[in-house]
Symmetry: C3
Subunit: 265 residues, 3 copies
């Protein structure tokens, strides 16, 4: 049924823990601290190098680069372009998180420009993916569609840009244009924590550093976050304690437990 | 005694939960993530759109706008002006949080300029309100006065600018120039969490989106944060666990419990 | 054996709690909120004033200034220079945290320039201190050396710049060029929380405001963070709950308990 096995996800997490990849994050000011904590908890090494004087040189040293357009400013956008230029030249895998694309004009143009620079994975919600594919966007950072409804657009986007597109939602849909993977884990409390999607983008970059197949990388990241969120929700009393428990569970999750708990479809 | 009833606060929270207003936040880098989490926990939808290329267009779509001058930079100040221009033109309610005004020159001028642009509510501590009204300010972000001592200045500020002024402190004082409401909830641990006041400003914007009377909006926000803080403090072991419990309690608070626990004066 | 007694550390914490020093932080966007919460939990008063129009005037009012070069931008770097100019002129003690210096070119030049402006303390990991002393740096924000291995470089750096150099690691090493203090507290979970080192820099600035001897200030900060981390780790289930517990323990730590638990060498 599914083109991937859960064994591949276990191997990916094992590689993440062994390699502790250095993930350069050019992300938004809202979630920068949270993103760094998610990467540390998972076993990666974050480095938030997002100024134009240093982002390019660092992208040649980093194991992966995350570009998240959540709060773009003139200086950080210049840093994003420099980092992507360098990443492409050096062969460093990079991931695009098109936060709120479609709802806002500047970042929509930026994301489309960056899409032409061979991101290994594009991760967004259904509205963002739809907008990036040329359709209508959402309102702010929240999505107004389901991953199912934009799967066709996601497949075209992936095929047309030789990338993997990961659409987050109640059931996550991931595709490289041909293969389609569904991950049916995850708890509604994830939508009550600022930066759950941004954290997934960062984890995707971390896995892209250690997985050759970007569809495996994106699926492993999605499975890791959502499986950990199921465990965290089981002992949380609300969104505050859930976010804290999620970091704990990310650090405690073993490759075997990940393979066991992931519901691929 | 008090010009408002606790039933009005219950109705306001009910409207917030039903409407899930989209709150555009132009706030400081210290509390951006925390503010987004407070809004999500309370039931609103935050969007941190704070660049000058996008803030204006977004203020026409958002249900309310928060302007918090905590860490102003040239680009975010330009974004604030664009957002306020748009909000005024579109009739989007907006809230001014004059963080550290009085202690610092640039933002004091900025806050006075913005005060002329019809904020629905101005929320600050006693020193900030005093400084905005033309008196002496405090030292940094901490206040050196009580709300009682600046009530006269707050009333004049409110009357002169056709706005509501909410003065935070041990007993919060809120006024539209004529009516005065006091809220006697809240725990000292709130002063040990970075951004408790900033969170109140954001909640005020969220309620301003769903309440026609800005005095009700500001009072509902104050009541919600302080009542939740009383519950959080009862099970906290210090400022770290308090902040986590506060997010949980904000999400758990029901309109009926809010009405029951709020001590209006 | 050790040039300092634990009684001096108890006195320092007592002075911090009594004085509640106002600490101006020019720090990175990743840890700004976390740093403010650490300072508040410990008993200090943070103020993140990091724009060039206000940072200079505020450095004459603040009790101490922290300069952390973690995410430099053109505007915040200008603010750092203005704050340091003012701090030097006004005699306000200031602390330099050279995050990722050595791995990145722009900030390395900036940190060397600022080093000439008489910081009271320089706090970094072994790679950062080595790079600042003219040796090779690390990779990103993580260190690839031990404090023991760079003690010679740290002593020279301290002696040559009339400052105290605090090298963080499994056993922290602190020196003013002549005296050397070792602090053997601290838990590995500290390396899984974003901004543990940055928090130490901020605490060092807070203690520099209330201690005449900068070696005592740096040692008290190191002891406070690491002793609190030992207590937090004892009841944490992972990095998320550890960070929360750390804030609680910082607020609960008494001068007597600090003196009792600190392992000086």
């Amino acid at each position: 049924m599914t083109p991937l096995t859960t064994d591949l996800l276990a191997d990916a997490l094992d590689a993440l823990r062994t390699g502790s990849p250095l993930v350069q994050c050019l992300t938004n000011v809202v979630v920068a601290g949270w993103t760094a904590n998610v990467l540390l908890a998972a076993g990666a090494a974050p480095a938030m190098v997002d100024n134009p004087a240093e982002s390019g040189v660092f992208a040649t040293v980093a194991d992966a680069v995350l570009i998240n357009v959540g709060t773009p400013y003139s200086e950080t956008v210049a840093a994003m372009r420099a980092a992507v230029d360098s990443a492409v030249a050096a062969g460093t895998p990079w991931v695009l998180d098109p936060v709120a694309v479609g709802a806002l004009p500047w970042r929509t143009g930026l994301a489309r420009e960056l899409l032409d620079r061979s991101p290994r994975v594009v991760r967004g919600n259904a509205s963002e993916v739809s907008a990036l594919a040329g359709g209508a966007g959402g309102r702010g950072v929240e999505t107004t569609r389901t991953p199912e409804a934009v799967l066709g657009a996601a497949r075209e986007l992936a095929a047309g840009n030789a990338t993997v597109v990961a659409v987050s939602g109640p059931v996550d849909h991931l595709t490289d244009g041909e293969r389609v993977v569904r991950v049916a884990n995850g708890h509604p409390l994830l939508t009550r924590v600022a930066g759950a999607g941004c954290a997934l983008g960062a984890l995707t970059a971390a896995f892209a550093a250690v997985c050759e197949d970007p569809l495996v990388a994106a699926t492993a990241a999605t499975a890791m976050l959502t499986v950990a969120s199921d465990a965290a929700a089981a002992r949380a009393g609300g969104p505050g304690s859930f976010a804290v428990a999620l970091l704990d569970e990310l650090s405690l999750l073993t490759p075997a437990a990940l393979a066991r708990a992931t519901r691929l479809g």
